[in-house]
Each structure stands twice: as structure tokens, then as C-alpha cells.
């Protein structure tokens, strides 16, 4: 009996015992081909999916390495069928290649004629193909480069895209490392992307994804289009780029609801790109406005469907996706793989935390018992209103106030979903509230004041979910959320994970109504955190109030 740290399950998950002597070595061996699914304290779960195997292939690993890694580290015999399956799946990648042909432009070539025949017979793919060139190749309309990759992935024959990229318009960009240095993993991530050509970099919130983007731009040295989630995030990208690179303010344009600047580096929001007037995307011309050499997608896991369609037409440009998680609530991971590119870099949260790049967090769920009247009202409310009701009960407000009082000297962020609840909290605590209707200027003023510690408590709605930078928030209180969204939970936790000046830990409270749907949703969200290795505690609201 071997005593390896790895156990292979029949559903193709891998269990890694983290306290094992050889766990670290094993993690390194399996990380290229297995997605880390859960990382709680003792046993990490990785999953082998076709996408993960193809990611590994794209990164230059072969089936033999994968099989060796499994057999070498496995505690129990690995089922033969599983190994065969892995070898077969991996062999599917690279049978088809997209190449550049001097005469025919873009061609799809195959090392396996039978596969090519199968593809040629596919009704959906046929229209994308041009004339047959010899027995093993067929021309592809250059505009269909993205579509064909999507469709090929769907039928299980992912194509390796070797057709290369246009260089785009040259523009000098360099990192300006004065007083800060590119971290090791940031450099590795940027380089991994550059060698791969296109792809996705997965880093936890607070790990400095913007800087990885900047490093990628410094590699490309070309005009760049950056797509971000919202206006505040656009501003921050701009500030960060001015600070970290040789770019000046004049070289960076913002293309948002209010400003429409097109400069060598242009930052646009998803929202403006997906605005339609009479069924027509009005800002599509942005993609053609310049000869972009690089396109950066911030928060790839939120990429809206129309952007995928636009991206399909941009396959000749280098693309880098930045995200904290490849998990998409809509399950379109395959589109990310085929249109943006394979995963190029990945580092687990916990590891970053151990290295001190992100602050350790302490998660606490506070269970509030509803009063009898509240329970009765809850039982009678309509099913659509139920969550809203239990998420915004007055009992919660009391507990939240008590929690804020517990941390008198710290920067506290209160995050919620429902505006009236937030307004009420703001009023009780005497804290400003940032919500959808708050002007951008005002928002930035408040953020700055919070940063400068002029304000200690800030109440924010979901508008602040993404890409706001609040380095000194050390306590977050979540009073309500978008139902059970795991990805929202990750984002919110990210708000307090950025390294603190004093190196101290962060606290993340979730206030939850007991025995209601709120509790169910919270359980769903927290499972995500627990799976990321954040041990959390559950305490009763009465304890909080009593200690007050």
C-alpha cells in the first residue's frame, strides 16, 4: 500500500490531504491539469474536467505526465479506465489546428483525417468553412475564427489556435517601478500570458490583477483596449496605470456613459459596449477605432454574453482575461476557454495569504432570531417578498449596529442589497450611504474620505460590489445579498482582503435571519468561502447583543 497524499475518486475528483508531507509536491504536480474546486482546511478537492485537461495540453503537458502524476501520488490504485479516459481526452486537443496559410489565409488543419471528416460533416460548422485544401486542411473564413473555435469545443475537438496575432499599432508602454516592485507571481502571470499568446489569469481579489494587466501591456507595447465592469473601476484602472506605468493621463482615454475618449489606451465599460439602440450595438465601432494590439478583459467571469459575440470577431488580437474565479454562475466556462483563451496562470487564495500578499480573514456568521411578530409576518409574506423581508428585518439592524460598536477604531464597511435597509442603517449609524443614485464625484469623495480615515463607517449598496479600492477596510458587515450568489460573496470578501498597513487580520460578518430563506442562501454562499479555506464561525445574535 502506497501512502501518497492523493486519492482519486470515481467521479474524477482528486482529494489532496494537505497535512501530508508530500502534499506540496503533489499540488504542484496536479495543478496544471486539475481545477481546484474546494480548499477547506484538511482535504482539497481538485476536479479533472476536459477543459482542465485541454488547458494542460495548451500549457505543454502531455498525457503521460498527467498519468505519472496521478499514479505517483495516489494512495490507492488508480482505476485503469480513468487513465485511459484522460489519455483519450487529452489526445483530442491539437488534432485540429488553426494556422495561417500564405495563400488561403486562415486554415484548419488536422493530423487525423477522420476527425476532419467528422468536422466537415457537422451541419453547424460547414457554413464557416471555405474550400478544401488537400486531404488534411480546409480554409476557414477569417471572420469565423472565434465561432469555429466555440463550435469545435462544443463537439469535443478543441482546436489549437496557432494562427498568430496582429501586432497592432505600436505604442511605448513600460512599467515604472519606483517605490514598488512587480511581485513574483505577477511577473509569472504576465509572462505565462505572453508566451501563451492569449488567455486567462486567475488571481484572488486583492492580489493586484490591475498590475498584471499593466505588466501585460508593457509586454505588448501596443495600443490597448481595456474592458471593465463599471465607471468607478474605469477610473481606478486609469489612476493605477498612471501610477504604475510610463503612460500619462493624455494617453489614456475613458469610454463610458459620460465620456467618449479614444486614446492609445482606452478603458471602456461592459455596460457602454452592450448598450443597444433599436437593436443595434452602437459602440461596436470602438473595436475598429484603432488597430488594437491587446485587449484586456477585467473580471472575465462577469463578461456579458454580447461581449462574447464581439470577442468572437477579435480573434486576431491578443486577449488577456483577469479574474478571481473561473466559476461562472451561467456555466459559460467553455466560451471563456475558446474565445479568450486557456487558463494561463492560477494561484490559490490561501497560498497567497500565507505568502502575505493578501490579508487573512476571519469570517463570522451572526444568526439573528426573529421576534414572534416578525416570524408571523415572514410566514405570511409572498414567496417573492420573503427574502427581502427576512433580509431586512429590524432585528438585523440592531445587531449590525452592535457589531459596528464592537470595532470602534476600525474602518467598517456595511454592504447590503436593499436601499431602504441601507438608508436606515446609515441614519442610525450616522454614516454616509453610497448607492446607485450617488454621483460619481460624490462617490469618489466619500471613498477618499474613507481612505483618509475621515469617515470610519461607510454603507454601500451592490454598486460598490466590483473594483472599488478601499485598502483600509478591515471589517465588513454583510446585511443582505443577491440571494445565494457565491461570486458576490467572493467579491465582498475581497473588499477586506487587501493587505492592511498594520498587517492585521480582517473580519467579515454576515448577518443572517435564523430559520428563513436568508439562512439557506447564506449557507450556499458560505460554502463557497469554506471551500476557499476560510474557516468561519457561527454565533448567535444574542451573544453579540449581550457582549455589547
Amino acid at each position: 500500500m502506497s501512502d501518497g497524499p492523493l486519492i482519486v475518486q470515481s467521479d474524477k475528483t482528486l482529494l489532496l490531504e494537505v497535512d501530508h508531507d508530500r502534499a506540496d509536491e503533489c499540488r504542484k504536480a496536479i495543478a496544471p491539469f486539475a481545477e481546484l474546486e474546494r480548499a477547506p482546511e484538511h482535504v482539497h478537492t481538485y476536479r479533472i474536467t476536459p477543459l482542465a485537461l485541454w488547458n494542460a495540453r495548451a500549457a505543454g503537458h502531455d498525457a503521460e505526465q498527467v498519468v505519472d502524476a496521478l499514479i505517483g501520488h495516489s494512495r490507492y490504485p488508480v482505476p485503469h479506465a480513468l487513465l485511459v479516459d484522460i489519455a483519450e481526452t487529452m489526445a483530442r486537443y491539437g488534432r485540429l489546428r488553426l494556422d495561417k496559410h500564405p495563400v488561403h489565409g486562415l486554415v484548419l488543419t488536422s493530423t487525423d483525417r477522420a476527425v476532419l471528416e467528422e468536422v466537415l460533416r457537422s451541419k453547424k460548422i460547414q457554413p464557416l468553412l471555405g474550400e478544401r485544401i488537400g486531404a488534411d486542411a480546409v480554409a476557414v473564413h477569417p471572420s469565423e475564427r472565434g465561432n469555429i473555435k466555440q463550435l469545435l469545443l462544443k463537439i469535443g475537438w478543441p482546436a489549437e489556435d496557432l494562427a498568430g496575432y496582429v501586432d497592432g499599432e505600436h505604442h511605448p508602454i513600460a512599467l515604472k517601478e519606483d517605490g514598488w516592485l512587480l511581485r513574483g507571481y505577477q511577473r509569472e502571470a504576465a509572462e505565462a500570458f505572453w508566451h501563451g499568446g492569449s488567455g486567462v489569469v486567475v488571481l484572488p481579489c486583492g492580489a493586484g490583477k490591475t498590475i498584471v494587466g499593466a505588466a501585460a501591456m508593457a509586454q505588448a507595447k501596443a495600443t490597448t483596449l481595456i474592458l471593465v465592469t463599471n465607471t468607478v473601476s474605469a477610473h481606478q484602472w486609469k489612476q493605477e496605470l498612471i501610477k504604475r506605468t510610463s503612460l500619462t493621463e493624455d494617453e489614456i482615454g475613458e469610454y463610458t456613459g459620460t465620456k467618449k475618449e479614444i486614446r492609445p489606451v482606452t478603458i471602456a465599460t461592459y455596460q457602454v459596449m452592450t448598450t443597444r439602440r433599436q437593436g443595434v450595438y452602437r459602440h461596436l465601432e470602438l473595436f475598429d477605432a484603432r488597430d488594437w494590439g491587446l485587449i484586456v478583459y477585467d473580471e472575465v467571469h462577469l463578461l456579458p454574453a454580447p461581449i462574447f459575440r464581439m470577442t468572437a470577431d477579435l480573434q486576431a488580437r491578443r486577449r488577456v482575461g483577469l479574474t478571481a474565479t473561473l466559476v461562472r454562475e451561467d456555466g459559460r466556462e467553455g466560451d471563456v476557454f475558446s474565445l479568450i483563451g486557456p487558463k494561463r496562470y492560477d494561484a490559490p487564495w490561501k497560498e497567497m495569504e500565507n505568502q502575505g500578499w493578501i490579508a487573512p480573514a476571519d469570517c463570522v456568521e451572526v444568526r439573528v432570531t426573529l421576534s414572534d411578530e416578525e416570524r408571523l409576518a415572514y410566514a405570511m409574506s409572498d414567496s417573492e417578498e420573503r427574502y427581502r423581508f427576512c433580509a431586512t428585518t429590524p432585528s438585523k439592524t440592531r445587531v449590525t449596529e452592535a457589531l459596528v460598536r464592537r470595532h470602534p477604531d476600525e474602518q467598517v464597511l456595511i454592504i447590503g442589497q436593499y436601499i431602504d435597509q441601507l438608508d436606515e442603517l446609515g441614519e442610525h449609524l450616522g454614516a454616509p450611504v453610497i448607492k446607485g443614485e450617488t454621483k460619481i464625484k460624490e462617490r469618489e469623495r466619500l471613498f477618499q474620505a474613507f481612505r483618509d480615515r475621515e469617515i470610519q463607517v461607510l454603507v454601500v449598496s451592490k454598486v460598490a460590489n466590483f473594483s472599488i479600492d478601499l485598502p483600509e477596510a478591515s471589517v465588513a458587515v454583510q446585511v443582505s445579498g443577491t440571494f445565494g450568489s457565491r461570486q458576490e460573496e467572493a467579491q465582498r470578501l475581497g473588499r477586506v482582503l487587501r493587505p492592511k498597513a498594520d498587517g492585521g487580520g480582517a473580519r467579515f460578518y454576515s448577518v443572517v435571519s435564523r430559520d428563513t430563506v436568508d439562512q439557506d442562501f447564506a449557507a450556499h454562499r458560505q460554502r463557497f468561502l469554506a471551500e476557499q479555506g476560510y474557516a468561519y464561525q457561527i454565533i448567535d445574535a444574542d451573544d453579540v447583543l449581550a457582549g455589547d
Binding site: 500500500m1 475528483t13 482529494l15 482535504v43 490507492y76 482505476p79 456568521e365 469554506a530
Partner: protein, 790 residues
């Protein structure tokens, strides 16, 4: 019937006859009356076909050669003939040794008889081997239906002097020079047609085969051959190559490539230890899959189809539950059924349910459970691989369908695994290699059906864990050699199986990971208190509100659960988990639910006090739920009637408010399953063989002596009790003495016989009957009495 053969058989020693009937047990079922009978049976087509089917390619080739060569054959001549076909690298010395052994074996089998210098194939062998080694019939046979004038033409065209008989033609064709000249004569196309037929099959189809063609007028290649008697017309549209011509074309050889040793098994080399571990891992998984199947079917059994079997939909569902490919799920189901762990319940709309045997099997150790399953698989005649195929009437063969069987399956399985075992440690022979070896070992049984069975066997052996990485594992080898009777297989398997653990790793995401198999108690407890999320080498359990509630429902207390967690956790119990348990327990049971089939409601509680106090109300099984409500277990009608009888005036209420709870019941079949008789291949037992041979000898002695039937002594045989009869008979068998019995014949007439008893079994006595001068079987219960012969 050849008397020579009978004589030869008669002269065999008792020991040799015993050896014969041991390897050909069909010859003594039933026991023949005398040696002549035995010889007759040994040369019957079916008996010969059976024994030939068991011969390997070399032995069969020796028989074929003996059939082709003119009898009798000197062993040296036989060897010379065979030596011509030896492949390169095999020395004549090897052949000599192999041949000596083979001829002895053929004698034992009574397929060949006669002394060393005059070997003769047993009567009947020639008839069965119609085309020995792919050679056509001899000319005498081939031209049988040709009229004399046609034969005369053929003889003339073949360059013979004169003659119009088949013998004359056969003589001509027997001359190598004549045939050489004739073959020389024909066109190259005709030559290539001959070469096509040379190595068999020797016949072909042509239109108008009986055409009358002469050598000088022959046009087409076929006509050239027909005119020169190089082909014989055997029908209107069929021609065959006469044996003499075939032998000439083969250059005097009978076989093309004749190896006295089996072809080597080619295969990938594997580490035997790794193969053993892989197989053990698979064995563990398989046992677990069967257990999972029975557990699932306990609570939610699939129905039995009207024609027997399991519906396709149910198979699909089970496949999903077991997380296996469909064929593997079919295997799990079939094996569980074959060893009696699941069976159809007896009722009309039956269900497939685990049997009481399952409860006994479940508590055994993993290795013992595996041995049960694997030996059941080896000996079952069911073929799970055929699930989903259609039978000859185009009906779908479902899993567990009664027709899903092939009688040859057990033998193919043991032969195939035998070949794997012969490959030696650490060798994983490819399927081609196995099929090649099998074709050598049993050349007469080849065919697509068998190849398919072999393929199934290899696939299933891997799934069950007999083999690992295609190499037969140590425990698999042990099981093959001992047939599941001894514990050797279990002993070999046990150390390879992972040790059962008594701890799990509890985590804050409410999962528990068992990094290996768990001890029985802990496993059952976890299955109750948590949901299984993934299985394999480890098991991942997840605690959730429902699972904790399920444990509470089953009578667990919160403290008890927490203690259990603490005791079996290698690390501290995470706070969210203990919180979950306490939180669910806090709410558990606050509401109570029960069944009542009727109730009494009354605003006046004193009236209900009165009812409760009334002794006549005892049979109604009343229970006071609240001051104004009483629940009863009787039906509403009975309750109303009884209350009226007691002098009250109740009114019935509508059914609203009845509570019905569907309860999940674990179900079992009603009776014990009928244990299936395992098929054995060990042949008849030695005692039976000895007795049979003695009976044949006795019968034969009588037969030879042409003993006249002896008259039974006059008078009635004194009646004796059954036990005395049996004791007396046993004594007579032992001493070989004669007895006088009274016997009721099949018409019920009382007769009187003098017997020489040979053997007694299954309620029957086999004995030589002096009064009838023959060997007969007597039903013991019809023997009315016994006495010594004076």
C-alpha cells in the same frame, strides 16, 4: 461396429477404462451394459464430436493425419508425415516427444487404437472429420455419383489405359506423376483456381458442374479441371478437390504449419505488484458497487418486467446511481442476481429486491464478499455483455432477462482466464494473442460468438478485479485454481485491501472525508447522518440540515451525534458543524406528527372525559390529543358505530384533516432464494467411475459368457425391511457376491431376480441381472425383499 475396436477396448486394463470414462463422462451416463455397448457409444458421432471439440490443434492434427493416411499407420510413418509440416525452429526431437505423449493421450481417449506400428483411428472418427485439415474426400468418394461412361472418359483423359470404375480413377490420381502431368497440362488460370482450393476449404461453387467436358474441347479453366478429374462435381453447382489432388498440391504435406507447442502469449509487461494492487482496488470497488446496488434497491426497487428482466429505464437509472458505464452496471446487477443477493419478489407485480442472503453477505469481510461474487461470476451461465442485444426473434434482451444466457459462458471464462494465468506473472496478453492461443487450444470451437465471449470475459475480469492492468492478479489465480472452495483467494486478497479506518476528516464546509474504507459501524452511521457526495478510494460525506434531521429521526440525539463526531474525527470538530447539529436538534421534534384514522371532536370536554373513562372504548384505542380532541386508530365508520352503541350521538365529519404518511420501508423478498447449483467441470467422481467400470466389466463378462438367463429360484423372496435391504446390498457390492431379490417391475408385477450388484446411488441400484443376463438399474423402493443365493 468394428470388432477390433471392441476387442482392443476390452483388453484395456480397468485403470485405463477408468481413465477413459473420467475424461469422457458422457460414455457412462447411463452405464452401458457391456464393453460392446461402451465401444458403440464411444464411436457415436455425438460422443466423438464432443471429445474432438476438446482437442488442441496439435492433437487434432495428429488425428487428422491418421485419418488421411491409409490405415493402419506406423507411428514412425506418422512422425515423418508430421515432420514435414513443422515450422522452423522446432526440432524433430521435440516432435517425437510430443507425439509420443499425444498418441498415448489419444489412446486414453479411445480415439486411436492399435499397437505402435499399426495405429488406427477409432470407428466414427473418419465420418466426423469430413474434411480433415481442409482436404476434400478421396477420389473414390468424390466421384461416387459419376456414371460409368463418364468415369471411362475421365480415366481416358487422365491418360489411363482403360477402366470405368472409381477405383481405376482413384488409382490414377494416387500416382503423383499422373497428377503432376495433368496439372502441367492446364492453363495458368486453372492452376491458380486449384491453388485457391489447395489449403481448404476444398469445395467451391460453379454453375452447371455436371457438364460433360473432354480434355481437348475444354475451354474455361473450370472445364479444363473437370475434364482431367482434377475437380470432381459433387452436385449440380458444387465441385470439390479430390483428396489425392489436394495432397499433391500441398507437396505431400497435410498441414501447413504444425507446431507441437502452443503459440506464445505476447503482451505488455507490467509490474505484478502494481497489477495486484490495481485488481484489489477494483475488487473493492466492485464489492462496493454491489452493496450500493442492494442498498438502493432495498428502498426503491425496480419492477420485474412481464417477460422477466429489468426495464431499460431502470437499468439506465441504476447505471446513473452506480456511476458506471452501462455494461459494468449490467455486470453488477447480473452477478448480484447470480449469487442470490437480489431476486424477483414473489408477488404478481414483482419487484427486484435484495434477498435475506444479502443481509448475511453484507456483514462478511470484504475479501469474503468478493470471493462470493467472483466465483459466482466464474460459474454463471448468464452473459451480461449481451444486455441490449436482440435475440433471433428480434426481442430486446434486458438485464436479468431469462434468456440472457449462453451455456458455454462458464467454460469460456475459465479457459480464457486459464490462458491469462498461463501467461506468467506480470504479462498482460493482448486480446489478439488470447484469441490466437484459444484457437490453438480448441480449434474446433472457434467463431465470432466465442470471440465475443472472450472479449466480455477480459473486460469483466478487469471490472471485477480478477485481473489488474490486464494481468491476472494473485487472488484471481488462487480463485481459478481452487474454485472458491478454499480461502486461498480471500487470503491473497485481504492484505491488498485498504485497512478499514475508524476516523474521518471533518471540515468547515460541512464535509467529512473518509480517506479510505471505514469500519462497518462508522460507515453506517455516516451514511445515516450525512449524504455521500463522491466515492472511490475515499468517500466524501456532506452534512446538511436534511441529513442531520434524518439521523435525529432515526433516534440519534444531538449530544450522541456530537460525541460520535468527536470520537471519530482526527481533528477538532469545526464549529459550523457542531452548530449545525445543535441547531437542527433544537428545532427537531417541536412539531409531532402521527397517524390516526379517525378522531372525535367535541367542545364539551367533560363529555370526552366520559368517553375516555368508558371501558367499552378500550378496543377503539383512543388517545386524548387535547381537551377537545380524541384520536382513534379505528376507522371512522367503526368509531361512529361504537359510539352509537355506547349511547352517544356522534356525527361523521368529512375526510379533511386526515394525515397519511408515506413511509419508506426497507423491503426483502419473502423466502430464501433457491440456491443455484454451481456448474462444475471436475468430471465425475472417482467412486462413480470405478463403479461404472465394474458394472461394464461385469456386464461384459456375462455378455461374453453368453450366460443363459438363470431361472430365479421358485417361491417368494422373504420380505425384508428397507434398511436391511440396503445393508445387504452394500455388503454384496463390497464382496462382489450375488443376491436374490424380489422386485416389482414397471408394470407392478412381482418378479424374482438373481443380481450381482455393482453400484448404488440416488435411490437406484445398478447390477448385473442373472435372470435377464443384462445390466439393469433397479429402483430401491421397488425391491421388496432380499436373500442370499443358496
Amino acid at each position: 461396429m468394428s470388432t477390433e475396436f471392441t476387442e482392443w477396448l476390452r483388453e484395456r486394463s480397468d485403470e485405463q477404462l477408468r481413465a477413459l470414462v473420467t475424461v469422457r463422462p458422457e460414455l457412462i451416463t447411463p452405464v452401458p451394459a457391456h464393453v460392446e455397448g461402451l465401444a458403440g457409444r464411444a464411436s457415436s458421432p455425438s460422443a466423438i464430436g464432443r471429445v474432438l471439440d476438446r482437442l488442441d490443434r496439435f492433437t487434432l492434427s495428429v488425428v487428422e493425419t491418421l485419418v488421411v493416411l491409409p490405415s493402419p499407420v506406423d507411428q514412425r510413418a506418422l512422425r515423418d508425415q508430421l515432420a514435414r509440416a513443422l515450422p522452423e525452429g522446432v526440432t524433430v526431437a521435440t516432435l517425437r516427444a510430443a507425439l509420443k505423449e499425444t498418441v498415448e493421450r489419444l489412446r486414453t481417449l479411445a480415439l486411436v487404437y492399435g499397437p505402435q506400428n499399426a495405429l488406427v483411428p477409432a470407428p466414427g472418427v473418419r465420418e466426423i472429420l469430413e474434411t480433415p485439415a481442409g482436404l476434400g474426400p478421396p477420389a473414390v468418394e468424390a466421384f461416387r455419383h459419376h456414371p460409368a461412361e463418364r468415369l471411362a472418359e475421365l480415366v481416358q483423359d487422365a491418360g489411363g489405359e482403360s477402366g470405368d470404375t472409381r477405383q481405376a480413377l482413384a488409382e490414377l490420381l494416387g500416382d503423383r506423376e499422373v497428377v503432376a502431368r495433368l496439372v502441367e497440362d492446364v492453363s495458368p488460370q486453372a492452376r491458380s483456381a486449384l491453388n485457391e482450393l489447395a489449403w481448404g476449404p476444398p469445395s467451391g461453387r460453379v454453375p452447371n458442374a455436371r457438364r460433360q467436358v473432354r480434355a481437348e474441347s475444354a475451354q474455361s479453366p473450370i472445364e479444363q479441371l473437370l475434364a482431367r478429374a482434377l475437380l470432381a462435381a459433387t452436385g449440380d453447382e458444387s465441385v470439390t478437390l479430390p483428396r489425392e489432388v489436394g495432397l499433391f498440391l500441398r507437396g505431400g504435406r497435410i498441414h501447413r504449419d504444425l507446431s507441437p507447442v502452443p503459440p506464445p502469449l505476447d503482451g505488455t509487461g507490467r509490474d505484478q505488484a502494481l497489477a495486484d494492487r490495481t485488481a484489489a482496488g477494483q475488487a473493492f470497488t466492485f464489492v462496493r458497487a454491489v452493496e450500493e446496488l442492494c442498498e438502493r434497491w432495498s428502498a426503491d426497487p425496480p419492477g420485474v418486467l412481464r417477460g422477466g428482466g429489468l426495464a431499460v429505464r431502470d437499468l439506465k437509472r441504476t447505471t446513473g446511481l452506480l456511476d458506471l458505464p452501462e455494461w459494468a452496471a449490467g455486470l453488477v446487477i447480473e452477478v448480484a442476481h447470480a449469487v442470490g443477493l437480489v431476486a424477483a419478489s414473489g408477488s404478481v407485480d414483482g419487484d427486484w429486491l435484495p434477498t435475506p442472503l444479502y443481509d448475511a453477505w453484507r456483514v462478511k469481510s470484504t475479501e469474503d464478499r468478493w470471493v462470493t461474487l467472483a466465483s459466482g461470476w466464474l460459474s454463471m451461465d448468464r452473459v451480461p455483455g449481451m444486455i441490449g442485444e436482440r435475440d433471433e426473434r428480434d426481442r430486446l434482451l434486458n438485464a436479468l432477462h431469462p434468456d440472457l444466457r449462453r451455456s458455454s459462458a462458464p467454460e469460456v471464462r475459465s479457459t480464457t482466464l486459464g490462458i491469462l494465468a498461463a501467461a506468467g506473472p506480470g504479462v498482460s496478453p493482448g486480446i489478439e494473442s488470447v484469441l490466437g492461443r484459444l484457437a490453438w487450444e480448441q480449434p474446433r470451437r472457434r467463431g465470432g460468438r466465442r470471440d465475443q465471449l472472450v472479449e466480455f470475459t477480459l473486460r469483466e475480469a478487469e471490472q471485477i478485479g480478477m485481473t489488474g492492468l490486464g494481468v491476472i492478479a494473485g487472488h484471481g489465480r488462487a480463485l481459478l485454481s481452487c474454485g472458491g472452495r478454499s480461502g486461498a483467494a480471500a487470503q491473497a486478497l485481504a492484505p491488498l485491501l485498504p485497512e478499514p479506518l475508524d476516523h474521518v476528516l471533518l471540515q468547515a464546509d460541512l464535509t467529512a472525508v473518509a480517506p479510505g474504507p471505514l469500519t462497518g459501524d462508522l460507515r453506517r452511521w455516516l451514511a445515516l447522518a450525512a449524504d455521500i457526495e463522491s466515492t472511490g478510494g475515499a468517500t466524501v460525506y456532506r452534512f446538511c440540515e436534511q441529513s442531520v434531521r434524518r439521523a435525529l429521526d432515526a433516534g440519534q440525539g444531538a449530544d450522541e451525534m456530537l460525541a460520535m463526531l468527536e470520537r471519530h474525527s482526527a481533528t477538532p470538530v469545526p464549529q459550523p458543524l457542531s452548530y449545525l447539529v445543535t441547531d437542527v436538534a433544537r428545532r427537531h421534534g417541536r412539531m409531532r406528527v402521527g397517524t390516526a384514522s379517525a378522531y372525535i371532536r367535541c367542545d364539551d370536554s367533560s363529555l370526552l372525559d366520559e368517553v375516555m373513562a368508558d371501558r367499552r372504548a378500550v378496543p377503539l384505542r383512543l388517545r386524548r390529543l387535547a381537551p377537545t380532541v380524541i384520536a382513534s386508530k379505528t376507522s371512522r365508520g367503526t368509531l361512529v358505530d361504537s359510539l352509537r352503541a355506547m349511547g352517544y350521538a356522534p356525527a361523521a365529519e368529512s375526510l379533511d384533516g386526515d394525515v397519511i404518511i408515506a413511509q419508506l420501508d426497507v423491503r426483502r423478498t419473502e423466502g430464501q432464494p433457491v440456491p443455484r447449483q454451481p456448474v462444475t467441470f471436475t468430471g465425475p467422481e472417482a467412486e462413480v467411475v470405478a463403479a461404472a467400470v465394474r458394472a461394464v466389466r461385469a456386464g461384459d463378462a456375462a455378455h461374453l459368457a453368453r450366460r443363459v438367463p438363470v431361472d430365479a429360484p421358485a417361491g417368494q423372496v422373504p420380505r425384508s425391511p428397507a434398511t436391511a435391504t440396503i445393508n445387504a446390498l452394500r455388503e454384496a457390492i463390497r464382496q462382489g457376491s450375488q443376491v436374490w431379490i424380489g422386485y416389482l417391475d414397471s408394470q407392478g408385477n412381482a418378479t424374482s431376480r438373481i443380481l450381482e450388484p455393482a453400484r448404488m446411488e440416488g435411490g437406484y441400484l445398478t447390477a448385473y441381472d442373472e435372470t435377464r443376463a443384462a445390466v439393469h438399474r433397479f429402483a430401491l423402493h421397488r425391491i421388496t425383499g432380499i436373500s442370499d443365493v443358496e
